[in-house]
Subunit: 301 residues, 2 copies
């Protein structure tokens, strides 16, 4: 699981700070999460192949999270993309994009699917053989979802010499990998744990931005391996969180602790702060395993 931070600051893009966009590689999927203005340029800088992005997840319709979307869709068209593209985001996102296509008289030559969200409950919105994506309803000034990306359980691994010694026909190996006991060539039932080892532990990533401190999300993200939780402010500005519907580093860490997360990633920093180091210091008082997102940084988990 690899996470590339294209942008992790709030409000407006600046010369040295980008607004929110991340690319999550999980198994064979490459998901783009949010798409602030300039994302297509940052994708190029990261040398991420445009054609590998098949699904884009937009948290909410504030500009710092999606103003780069229409440009990216348009560039895909100019580059004569053929692969389907799926966009998940709040109701209204389709109208925004298609209105601009209509007025530009420029329709995509690839299939573009919008999956508009409006539920206030967590939903399974995508799955394939290896991964599931669920929404995480957040509380912000407008309708907002985080996203939970979960690997499905990996298959168990055959211990070849043990399976051979147990005289199991290879036709049953698939069943064994899936965790079933099978009969051997002599008709004896073989405990699968004797001839297989557990598969790699499935990983999970939760993206939670933008939101106030909201304990309701804890059951959804419980035991997540990596949690990105917005921390627009430091605790000294906690009084601003109610009006702006954002969170502090301390609040992000409290969610991470209560959800028993593996690693907490902080981001969506207000540009009012001269340094982002205090965000980590503040969070570590509550939760130990904290990392700071930075534009251009890549995490391998």
């Amino acid at each position: 699981m690899r996470l590339s931070i294209l942008g992790c600051y709030s409000a407006t893009p600046r010369a040295m700070t980008n607004t929110t966009a991340q690319v999550l590689e999980i198994n064979n999927n490459m998901f783009l999460i949010d798409c602030g203005e300039g994302t297509q340029v940052h994708l190029r800088k990261h040398k991420i192949k445009f054609n590998r992005i098949k699904r884009i997840f937009i948290s909410h319709l504030h500009g710092d999270h999606f103003f780069g979307l229409v440009g990216l869709i348009s560039t895909f068209r100019l580059l004569t993309r053929e692969a389907d593209l799926h966009v998940y985001g709040p109701k209204g996102i389709k109208e925004i994009v298609t209105l601009q296509m209509k007025l530009a008289d420029s329709w995509t030559n690839y299939n573009l699917y919008f999956h508009e969200l409006s539920s206030k409950e967590s939903e399974l919105i995508f799955e394939d053989d290896t991964v599931e994506v669920h929404t995480i309803p957040l509380k912000h000034r407008i309708y907002t979802n985080g996203y939970l990306f979960k690997e499905k359980p990996h298959e168990r691994k055959i211990i070849s010499h043990a399976a051979e010694e147990a005289n199991i026909n290879v036709a049953y190996y698939r069943k064994l990998k899936q965790g079933f006991d099978v009969k051997n060539e002599d008709g004896v039932l073989i405990d699968h744990t004797l001839v297989t080892t557990p598969g790699k532990k499935p990983q999970s990533y939760a993206f939670c931005s933008d939101t106030v401190y909201k304990e309701d999300i804890i059951p959804i993200i419980k035991n997540v391996d990596v949690l990105y939780h917005e921390s627009t402010f430091l605790d000294q500005h906690v009084h601003l969180t109610e009006r702006t519907k954002h969170a502090t580093a301390k609040q992000a860490a409290t969610i991470a602790k209560k959800a028993n997360a593996g690693t907490l990633l902080l981001g969506h920093y207000s540009t009012r702060y001269g340094s982002i180091k205090p965000f980590k210091d503040e969070a570590k008082l509550v939760f130990d395993n904290v990392e700071l997102c930075e534009d251009g940084k890549t995490f391998d988990f």
Copy 2:
């Protein structure tokens, strides 16, 4: 008259090339012309004060000319702008911006005026005491206007000692500056040319992008001091101009020559070319005074 090139490449923003945006300073006005994605960041890099931009002129609704507009308007709001903002552009531009504001539940705290254009004839769309702005109807794949920015005639300058010697009351100096003959204290009519010198020659700038080669624009831009004319292609690719509705460097130079322009600026280069130098070489075969736009370059005229 100062022109700052924020971006001058066609199609899509890339790591090293920006799409179209220019800032024209003419007298006390600062006009933004087109607004490709990322323009707000490039304005910051140029250290152009956001509050000085009161009027934005959008040529057409292809993304490389306006995808940065909604972000700029939104950033002005976040920076608690108070000054009015006027946006001139094709019909539909208001709907694109206001739809996104509505879905973000984020309305500007400053006055935002849209001036939607749909005429196919040149129109006077703005004037104040010192400058006029006219549309230049262009021919592209969708409805497109260039813009002609013209200083109004500057007032004549009083030759102080001559006016005193001619015994003219200072109350009449304003009339003299405006080019009228006036009576002196002895009742004698004084020829204004004897006591004034001509004002500074008014300057003009024409922005023509995107367009095919279109001789109809020549009467509108006749004798313009500086002409920006798109040159997406070199002559070797002239066969692409008909389908794409763009022009070559040679065609841009031909328009400059026929319009008796002072200086020709080339831009809107296709990114297919490794170097932009051949654009200048090609244009100079037809018209002598050619300059190449480059991202980040500033011209003083």
